[in-house]
Amino acid sequence: MPWRGEWFGPLAAVLAFGLVAGCATTAPRVAEDAKGAKLGANAEIVLLAPDVLVYELPTSGVPVLRRDWTEQALRNIERALGAELKRRGARFRVALRPPEDDQDRARQYWLLNRRLAETLVDPNLRLPHKRGKLDWTVGPGVRILDPDARYALFMLVRDSYSSDARKAMMIAGLFLGVNVPLGQQFVYVHLIDLEDGSVVWTNRLLSMGGDLRSPGPADEVVRKVLNKAPL
């Protein structure tokens, strides 16, 4: 019903992510091209700006967005993505900043990529008629993101880390058999074929570890989520 400060919803969504239990799990999905050919070999890739949000989980359990941690994680992920592609010998170009102007078509396609990612990771938005098949496209207009590259890579990251006080609380809880959940990490990635806009590969990673705020673990997380990428 009518008007109230509607900014708790997204927080609740982050909390809901936290409810999905477990250690590191990945769930890759691949689509083949029309001729069933192996994708990606030697193709040029354009790296789109990842959408990263890093939260702090204080004692209250209400996630608090941390701009400083988000910035750190973003830098580490961008660098790790480049390093990983180089390691694989893939050719790539970086378009890591989303264009600012909201009338800009490139920005519109960046937003469309994000919306697609959010749709694919939300179990409530799963469309029954797709029957679990990876059958999505953002349309051929996505070519505007790069005139030459074959693929665009987009990553969505939602991460949270417990404050020291919460960690102490968790230990106190151990004595009483009270479970105090700590931070959770969710990493999602997809590859778009710039020829026709179709999603050719997705993967997701849900874990409790891999501190993206430091370079080493960030490299490891990126390597893990791109492990089976058809590049």
């Binding site: 997204p10 204080p58 609380m169 106190a172």
Partner: protein, 375 residues
Amino acid sequence: MNGRFLSRCLAAPPALGLLVLILLATPVHADSSGALTAEAERLEQRLRDSPRRLPEDHELVVHLRELVCVLDEKRCGGLRLYVLRSPQANAFMLPNGAMALFTGLMLRTVEEAELAFVIAHEIGHYAERHSEERWTTLHRTGNLLNLVAFAAGATGEYQAGAIAEFGIVAALFAYSRDQEREADRFAVERMTAAGYPLRAGAELFAGLLAEERARPTAIPTLFATHPPTRERVRTLERLAASAPEIAVPRDGSRWRSLRARHLEAWLDDELGRRSRADSLVLLERLERSGDPPEILRPRRAEILRRSGKPEDLAEAARLLEALVEEGQASARAWRLLGQVAKARGDQAKAREAFRRYLELEPEAPDRALIEWEMQ
């Protein structure tokens, strides 16, 4: 007494003590207000990026920005307005001064004063820093719930924990009701200063309440984050009755003409919600408020037609035929009458209605379909 219970009892005091120490040592996060600002800026960016947002130079946005300044000249320079095309009857304000208004709300505010009430109410939330208060409350409640959980864990009474949580959640929303009252008070003051009649707020809420009641899944009062609308209606009516007569009432004709231009599009958005009972209540109220019947009735008939039930089809036919008799039937009305007549098995009437539709709309995009229906 078993050993497990004993060990729990021994562990409880130090563990609880430790928790209390932790909670006392950590500041409540609202005080480090950067976090709330970061969240607000992120959400404002989502508003800015929304495909539903009307452009800055849109006539509605321009007029609404003026309206904000009429209501609060002091603050309007620091506020940013986002108008979103959406059938929701909604408006909200972020703690950083970004205000979002939905066209679904504008459909429901026939008079400018009603819209002014909502805008002033939202500025009230901002002026009184209610988001910051809620943020603090949310964190305090979280901490309190931890204490309860720990206490429950210590005694093995997990159920007690669950019941206590329920009480605290209710307390959180009760607090929020006070904030709504504060924002209403602020709105009443700004409305009076700007020359808007106070009964507008009460009338809008009475209308929204009627819609809410017609909705099949009503939210229980306990979980409403705004005061029960009935209570709000009564309070506002009381305030309006005791308010002094306005010497120079503000002219709302510009809003009426703007709204009239967008009315049909907004009504179609409302139909797109695919809701029945509450949409019908809304359309009937708008007709009583003076919106043109020739625009409203075909849409009422369309909602009725969707059910396919004989009594609904009969009512739809009655509404449309009344328009025909008054010489007010639009192309849309004729088309619908054709569909209703066909669904009721009256082929001759359907053919005639479709013929009139194509006569009025020779370039109709669905011409081929209608011609096929006529066979």
